[in-house]
């Protein structure tokens, strides 16, 4: 019978910025990890009370239920535009969007590009799992060549369906961007790095240093038809080579920041 050590102290618990609502995400879905990291950063920076999140359309359409902060719900792809509207009239609040690959890189391509070009002082958390989760597993702009989805049942044929889009590289070219990085959630070491990146992204906004985005390579066990652990391995083995991890744009003041 295992017993708790008598002098054991609590060293980690749920962040306060997560509401107490159990999420609807599939078991092992990295959305949960991303949510937790954002919440931990909001706690550590003490900015929960001035934060307004913008939820997308996608599996995280109910993100507003899971965070203990003000939230609004955008139309599909339009979160960066909605965030722009809010930030322009309430410039001292912390505004972030949380978007999937369909929301950000397909229907929302114009909105994300122009928010970055305008240098909107908002933070974007981009969940890239190379598939459309909520609608049942269709091809996404980030789907890997050869990857089978319900709308590419024989595997993504680049002759017909083109190539995956690398958003971090593209947005890093915008002069208005202050912090554009890609991290991954497929193992604890990378999750720790992802958290640091999310922290620096919000610090970029705090200091009005331009548009910030953290692209997070994520898994979709259900639609990839893998177990949660197999799905994380897939991210490490197959997604990282196509979407290289790294810092694509870091404005000097953030590069020098010690957190």
């Amino acid at each position: 019978m295992l017993t708790k050590p008598a002098d054991a102290e609590l060293i980690y618990q749920r962040p306060e910025s997560l509401s107490g609502v159990a999420t609807h995400y599939c078991p092992g879905c990295t959305h949960g990890i991303a949510h937790r990291l954002v919440a931990e950063v909001l706690d550590e920076m003490g900015i929960r009370e001035k934060t307004i999140g913008v939820a997308p359309v996608g599996c995280s359409v109910f993100a507003y239920k899971y965070f203990f902060s003000d939230y609004v719900e955008a139309a599909h792809g339009r979160a960066p535009a909605m965030a722009t509207g809010i930030k322009r009239v309430l410039p001292d609040r912390t505004i972030y969007t949380y978007q999937g690959d369909g929301d950000l890189a397909s229907i929302g391509m114009a909105e994300i590009m122009h928010a970055a070009a305008r240098g909107e002082n908002i933070t974007v958390i981009f969940i890239n799992n190379a598939i459309y989760g909520m609608t049942g597993g269709q091809m996404a702009p980030t789907t890997l060549p050869g990857m089978k989805t319900t709308s590419s049942p024989l595997g993504r044929d680049v002759e017909l369906a083109g190539f995956p889009i690398r958003m971090a590289e593209i947005l890093a070219n915008m002069d208005g961007a202050g912090y554009i990085v890609r991290r991954s959630l497929h193992n604890p070491a990378n999750i720790r790095k992802a958290k640091k990146a999310i922290r620096l992204a919000f610090e970029t906004q705090e200091r009005n240093l331009g548009f910030s985005m953290v692209e997070l390579l994520s898994s979709c066990p259900t639609n990839w038809k893998l177990t949660p652990n197999e799905a994380l391995k897939f991210v490490g083995e197959h997604m990282v080579p196509v979407f290289p991890l790294g810092d694509y744009k870091v404005i000097p003041e953030i590069a020098d920041l010690k957190v």
């Binding site: 509401s19 001035k50 902060s69 939230y71 719900e73 139309a75 339009r78 509207g85 809010i86």
Partner: protein, 374 residues
């Protein structure tokens, strides 16, 4: 304040600023662009938000975001741009936040042209976007009316947490007329109690139009409908001229109503007992008033710059009590007073035998006029 010679779109933009607009997000489109340009100059001067968005799609979603904070937010566009905004409009309506949208209508459908038209009546009045919602629609007929109605639009939008469309057409947007601007209003200091502003010292709020359980959506739709019924009871507005002893009623809105007004004046000089009824609110539509008119006059002539859209609403209200005839010009063509005067004379002297539906009769006559070089 004294009257000045003011250009439509610029005056409307300034009126919006004085009514307390704190966020303007738009995209250039003729014939509304001067609105955006005036905002581009003035909003930064006042430290208020202005963004030229990448498209009308983005613009309406920026309005949506700003509206969620309780600040007065608006956009201005023209027919094809308004079409792009319809998804965002539905979202704003479903979230029950206020917004003001100016539509300076142009010839269509499709790319059409930049000339004035009223072809968006159905789109504006019947909703335009998906789902069960009911926008308020105001139709000015002059620069002064537009200035006044934009201030009214913001007040109604806030009062009912509703979308208010102010629909002009290219004529009104582009014309220069003597008009008076209202004084600058003070900005509201406290956000409304539903607004999303950062949960300092209070429970978090969220604003959304999602009601995933149909039962919850039904409750929301009922709430929107009940609110609409309140609006119908209290916010109908219209203008009438010479209706007291009228035997013929001419009904038109916006520019069509204004041109008809000149024709009615001329007809009265000829001794014809004709009057003009001009709805200001196309939604809520002045149903009771039109019903009363239909019990008074012998004939109704509807004048529009489209293929007969308000015509259908009026035909519905009149319920065959009196014959309803129609005159319209299309595609950006504006009717002249003498055309409508001819119609009034025809209705008085040779009314149609009503064997055909009003549209068919009118189309035969119109094609004759066009072939005759009219």
């Amino acid at each position: 304040m004294a009257k000045h010679l003011l250009k439509g779109n610029e005056a409307f933009a300034e009126a919006a600023i004085r009514a307390g607009c704190e966020g303007f997000f738009g995209y250039p489109i003729t014939p509304s662009t001067e609105f955006l340009e005036h905002m581009a100059k003035r909003m930064p001067e006042l430290g208020r938000a202005f963004v030229q968005a990448e498209s009308e799609v983005a613009a309406i979603n920026m309005v949506y975001g700003a509206a969620c904070t309780g600040k007065r937010a608006m956009t201005a566009s023209s027919s094809p741009g308004i079409s792009l905004m319809m998804e965002g409009i539905s979202y704003i309506a479903g979230t029950e936040v206020p917004a003001v949208i100016i539509n300076v209508m142009r010839g269509g459908p499709g790319l059409g042209n930049i000339a004035p038209s009223q072809g968006d009546y159905f789109q504006m009045v019947k909703g335009g976007g998906h789902g069960d919602y009911f926008p308020i629609v105001l139709a000015p007929a002059s620069v002064q009316e537009a200035i006044d109605q934009i201030g009214l639009a913001f007040d109604l939008a806030d009062k009912y947490r509703s979308i208010v469309h102010v629909i002009a057409d290219g004529n009104i947007g582009q014309m220069m007329e003597p008009a008076e601007l209202p004084p600058m209003r003070e900005l509201r200091k406290e956000p409304p109690d539903w607004a999303v502003t950062g949960a300092r010292g209070r429970k978090p709020r969220f604003l959304s139009s999602i009601y995933i359980d149909p039962v919850d959506q039904e409750v929301t739709d009922i709430r929107l409908l009940r609110r609409w019924m309140e609006i119908e009871k209290h916010e109908v507005r219209y203008k009438e001229h010479f209706m007291k002893d009228a035997e013929i009623a001419v009904i038109g809105f916006g520019t069509a109503g204004r041109v008809a007004s000149s024709a009615v004046n001329l007809a009265r000089e000829e001794g014809i007992k004709v009057g003009l009824f001009r709805p200001i609110t196309l939604a809520p539509f002045p149903k009771k008033e039109v019903e009363t008119i239909s019990r008074q006059v012998k004939r109704i002539l509807v004048v529009e710059m489209n293929t007969g859209m308000m015509l259908e609403d009026i035909t519905n209200i009149v319920q065959g009590r009196v014959p309803v005839e129609f005159y319209g010009r299309l595609g950006g063509v504006t009717p002249f007073p003498d055309e409508i005067l001819d119609e009034i004379r025809r209705v008085r002297n040779n009314p149609s035998d009503n064997s055909k539906y009003a549209r068919e009769e009118w189309l035969d006559r119109l094609e004759n006029i066009i072939q005759g070089g009219g």
